[in-house]
């Protein structure tokens, strides 16, 4: 059976990279009511989450084989 941690891990890694890229290369993209670099922080957390999912899936597949 497909290990769901793989596609969801990749999904959040890709999303995280897009937002992180926005946060780093277009740091002036800000919303009307927020002074924070929202893309940078949320991108970073999504990237970390995605990588953790991939790590867990990788460990599980190694244990299985």
């Amino acid at each position: 059976m497909l290990d769901l941690r793989v596609p969801s891990g990749w999904f959040f890694t890709v999303l995280g990279l897009i937002l992180l890229g926005m946060g780093i290369f277009a740091p002036d993209t800000r919303a009307a009511l927020s002074d924070a670099n929202v893309n940078l922080y949320s991108g970073l957390s999504m990237l970390v989450f995605g990588l953790i999912m991939l790590l867990l899936a990788w460990r599980a597949s190694r244990r299985a084989s």
């Binding site: 596609p7 959040f12 926005m22 993209t29 919303a31 009511l33 929202v38 893309n39």
Partner: protein, 560 residues
């Protein structure tokens, strides 16, 4: 609101992943059981999140933030009182019968426990109801995207429906469940930053309390009514929801929520897809953990929005174009527009689209199973080879999606018909929990009794609506009582339905011939062996439930 190319990219990435998951699962579908029941093989963490996500549709997200803006933190009762106790109950007490009976659907359990007519009543009302609720939610999403982004109504519902169709057609229930987990994670990722940003801007919870306090005091209620969930429940006139303690706890917390979480096949199906009895029982219990904290990301932004609107920082509650009254349904999207830059805005809106898809896929897969097994196999073609039912299941996916789209267009033409339908389904559903309660825990309950109880309950519910008035609705046969709010009225309608169904089922059971005990093995408490649980605390249902209750108490005391 205008989207940047990066926002569309994120939406496209999401579409690619949900379709990809469906594509990867397509080969596993060789029997009707694989397609409609996931072959009972899904890991527990996945069923748990899907159990919560199937209920977390777009209407729920939009509606809960709107209620947060209108009623404050009391809205959390829909989660804490109105969901968690029922979720614990279905996991601990009812799942052994659902999963252990080997029934393939909730209506089929009714057939095994009672008789054919009780099942048919439930199967038909459920099938019609899922189509319409999927249609109504499609309509709501299409309207919202049209209003906020200027997207074409037909284009947005047809594209989202087509994507749901493709991935459920390819991978059946498994694909729907797997995608629901992805959708749930995306909803959390897309909505939680909004809660943090909006609350921080409004001066934290303290700042919100001060600002809303001034507002409710001016409106003649206590200054703390928007930020306290329990303190002002004594009288319906002292809180903005217009409900009182008994109506809330008995109506919402008992009848409505147990009726939904314990008998609605849409959610129960997720637990029944789990890989073992132990996993099936733990599915609702593990799902209860994230469920308890959802109010902080779906309700709190609505509360913060009202505070922000009073601060003169450049945010105001959007007004309806025709009535010029506040349109709270737009709170969540306008907040996103003000707090999310291009990029994160794409994630937020994709989260909204994802919630719509998870709700719709939930409806479609539940409809599929009930149609194929409870209606088609029972009335149209009985003893066909399994391959035939696999094809029927696949075809039903297409039909289900097409019917939902049809229902969405009906909703655009006849607003009132949809209101009426929702009301009628409310009547049909309200008594159901009494039927299940007596069916699972009282071996004397009989089929004739269950059926007459259900019919009486529905009649009692409609009579209550016809004889009472709230917010100008109901009372078409006279007015015996006026409720302070439509919500209070719906709680009491549910109570009347449950009580009358319970009593009638009880009395008719005693007057009719009981079924022999050997027919009821595995279906009723006392005649069913419940497997002993082994392992660490988190592998056993009871300690999990106790942990949930402890956290629930802390949350309720904190926000009392």
């Amino acid at each position: 609101m205008k989207l940047a190319p990066v926002d569309y990219t994120i939406l496209a990435v999401y579409f690619a992943f949900v379709l990809g998951i469906g594509w990867m699962l397509r080969k596993k579908m060789s029997t009707s059981g694989d397609f409609l029941l996931s072959g009972r093989s899904v890991p527990v963490w996945i069923t748990s999140l899907a159990f919560i996500a199937a209920n977390l549709g777009a209407q729920e997200l939009v509606g809960m933030s709107a209620s947060g803006a209108k009623y404050g933190i009391m809205t959390a009762h829909f989660y804490w009182i109105g969901a968690i106790p029922a979720i614990l109950f279905v996991g601990i007490f009812m799942m052994p019968f659902y999963y252990g009976s080997k029934a393939r659907s909730v209506p089929e359990y009714l057939k095994m426990r009672y008789d054919e007519k009780t099942r048919t009543y439930n199967a038909f009302s459920f099938a019609v109801m899922t189509i319409f609720s999927s249609g109504i939610s499609m309509y709501a999403l299409g309207k919202l995207l049209q209003l906020v982004l200027g997207w074409d109504f037909s284009a947005s519902i047809l594209v989202s429906a087509a994507i749901v169709l493709v991935y459920t057609f390819l991978g059946g229930l498994t694909s729907a469940i797997y995608n629901e987990v992805l959708q749930f994670l995306l909803i959390v990722a897309g909505f939680s930053p909004l809660a943090i940003l909006a609350v921080a801007k409004a001066g934290g919870w303290q700042g919100i309390q001060t600002r809303l306090g001034a507002m409710t005091l001016a409106g003649g209620m206590s200054g703390k009514v928007m930020t306290h969930a329990w303190t002002y429940m004594g009288s319906p006139h002292s809180n903005p929801m217009g409900v009182e303690l008994f109506g809330l706890v008995a109506g919402l917390g008992f009848v409505l929520s147990f009726g939904y979480w314990c008998t609605n096949f849409l959610v129960v199906q997720r637990a029944m897809a789990a890989d073992s009895m132990n996993s099936a029982r733990r599915t609702p219990l593990i799902g209860a953990f994230p469920k308890m904290f959802l109010p902080f990301i779906v309700i709190v932004p609505g509360i913060a929005a009202v505070a922000l609107a009073r601060m003169g920082v450049g945010y105001s509650i959007p007004l309806d174009a025709n009535t010029h009254l506040p349109n709270y349904n737009l709170v969540i999207t306008t907040l996103m527009a003000k707090f999310y830059p291009a990029g994160m805005l794409g994630v937020g809106l994709t989260g909204l689209v994802a919630s719509f898809m998870s709700g719709m896929a939930g409806n479609v897969t539940a409809f599929n199973t009930v149609w194929t097994y409870d209606i088609y196999q029972t009335y149209i073609r009985k003893n066909a080879p399994d391959r035939h039912y696999l094809h029927v299941g696949r075809a039903t996916t297409i039909v289900g999606v097409l019917l939902s789209i049809g229902a969405a267009y009906v909703a655009t033409r006849y607003d009132n018909i949809m209101d009426l339908l929702q009301l009628v389904f409310g009547f049909v559903n309200a008594p159901l929990f009494a039927t299940f309660l007596l069916g699972m825990f009282w071996k004397r309950g009989t089929g004739h009794a269950a059926f007459s109880g259900l019919v009486t309950g529905t009649v009692a519910a409609s009579l209550t609506w016809c004889l009472t008035v709230a917010e100008g609705k109901g009372g078409i046969l006279g007015n015996l009582h006026t409720f302070p709010s439509a919500m209070a009225q719906s709680f009491w309608i549910a109570l009347m339905a449950f009580t009358s169904c319970f009593l009638v089922t009880l009395l008719v059971s005693l007057a009719t011939k009981p079924r022999p005990e050997k027919d009821l093995e595995g279906l009723v408490y006392g005649l069913t062996k419940i497997p002993e649980d082994r392992g660490s605390w988190y592998q056993r249902p009871a300690p999990l439930a106790v942990t949930v209750i402890a956290i629930l108490l802390v949350l309720n005391i904190w926000f009392a």
